[in-house]
Subunit: 328 residues, 2 copies
Amino acid sequence: MKVALLGLGSVGQGIASMVLKKGLGITITGLADSKSGIIDAKGINIEEILVRKRGGNPAGDTSVSAMDVVQNADYDVLVEVTPTNISTGEPARTHITSALRKGRHVVTSNKGPIALHHRELLTLADTHHVSLRYEATVCGAIPIIHILEHGLLGNQVKALHGIMNGTCNFILTRMSEEGLSYEQALAEAREMGYAEADPSYDVKGIDPAIKLVILANAIWNLGVTLHEVEITGIDQITPEALRLAGEDDATIRLIAEAIPARQLLRVSPRILPRSHPLVVKGTLNAVTLETDMAGSLTFIGRGAGSIETASAIIGDILFIREQYDGCS
Amino acid sequence: MKVALLGLGSVGQGIASMVLKKGLGITITGLADSKSGIIDAKGINIEEILVRKRGGNPAGDTSVSAMDVVQNADYDVLVEVTPTNISTGEPARTHITSALRKGRHVVTSNKGPIALHHRELLTLADTHHVSLRYEATVCGAIPIIHILEHGLLGNQVKALHGIMNGTCNFILTRMSEEGLSYEQALAEAREMGYAEADPSYDVKGIDPAIKLVILANAIWNLGVTLHEVEITGIDQITPEALRLAGEDDATIRLIAEAIPARQLLRVSPRILPRSHPLVVKGTLNAVTLETDMAGSLTFIGRGAGSIETASAIIGDILFIREQYDGCS
């Protein structure tokens, strides 16, 4: 399986290092970071690239761009893991559409183009008889999109509820368990590397709302957008509210939920019994699906991380190989 | 998709009623209960059959046997949901091998042949270029086999831990929450229909051990058998033990676990913190996989039930269709 890899940040380096370590029948024939690119049909020396990146150097030739790699490399699957732009989806959207138009499969962790242009991109993939897979855009290592698309065939999914932001869940866990204030817990999350310098994308609930949009469109093909999600963040939660919940053996979690029959698409802090399957700790993510035959199913796992996201990307690449190889 | 259905107990009737209700592109062309059979290439009138069964009558013609259906019906997939015999695997094993030898796919909920003859049956399926799927043999509606086979490609599973018996979990939940004795909780489980008249298959840990064997062989192809599982049941657990665990905010659950690196294959009651993801309530099942890239993943859902098991069977049938249709 020949792969062109765009993006060599934490996720891109995670993918490269796993391919280097495990082989997996994957050869990287094209590669680009934000400033440079390499094309080598015989397979790029990944070890050398990783050493260069860790030394703070560009991965390849500064005269080669990501679009050069998309257009000129010899690959079966484009792996798009450049930084997300949630307003325009660019430049990932152009990378993805160009590869699909060339009849190449695409696997991405990039939330922007999937949240903004899901239907258009999947239609384009269909037209060109290739796959577009995006497991890594939601809930890290939990193979939730795969389960929805292939693991519960015949079931109708009636509702989805989940904890889709590890930063918020970490903050709420610490506030609940240690009686910390929101500000104290946020400071701790920053120290641990779980929160950005500007945490608003997480704590205001934007990030889980984007994931909710991606999942809702994946399940029901509703074509919904971020503007349709009713969003409340966690930045107004007080230790007092958590203490009161605790008195009833309950706690507070930031829940993303979609129930099409009630036209509900919402991210908001909710009081849940401590024994509820969605009440996970720390940076974990959890998703519950309500289905007509399988009943209620809950999936729990790590929602972020370089290797965890690489796991989702690699799972998608190898599932494409399985699907297309099974036919030969 | 033409299906021959062997077995019209609770699971078989669940499958038939879901096919009747939802269509799903499935036509039942052959069918047998313990005393009779029907073959109709144009599709059997399921509604009529279900009425007959509910009236206590044989489903079909008493001169037609299950093996007649296997040999003479026109079908793509044999669905084997006759009662399990864990000593011999029969008659399911003969039904399954006969269908595979005819080049037909097989989907089963029957633990006997899968626990006893996993490698032999999968080899036979491979030889005849067909699928043998058995999602419904373990953990009810949780698509755990599917996730292991297709949802985490590229990952190495290092360990498996789970709650795989709803009867035991119900009894332990009731003992823990209400301070009931084992005998009281068992009586309650019987009243609710969760325990058999002779509950030893469940409470002695045999049932979860069989599921552990099936999962361990599915993941690692170890060819292990029930004799290799170290088994302790729950019938010696006292309310006092649960009370003591409760004092440390912990509880007791019957955990099945497999760790090949430590040659560990065990079913035993374990003390777990109440907040542990595997501590689910009532008749729920839960499975945790420890993997090298995706980290620790937990899956929770209903472990039994007519429609839940039908969900697993139907998911397998439709995944076979997806795999083979994708090629045409």
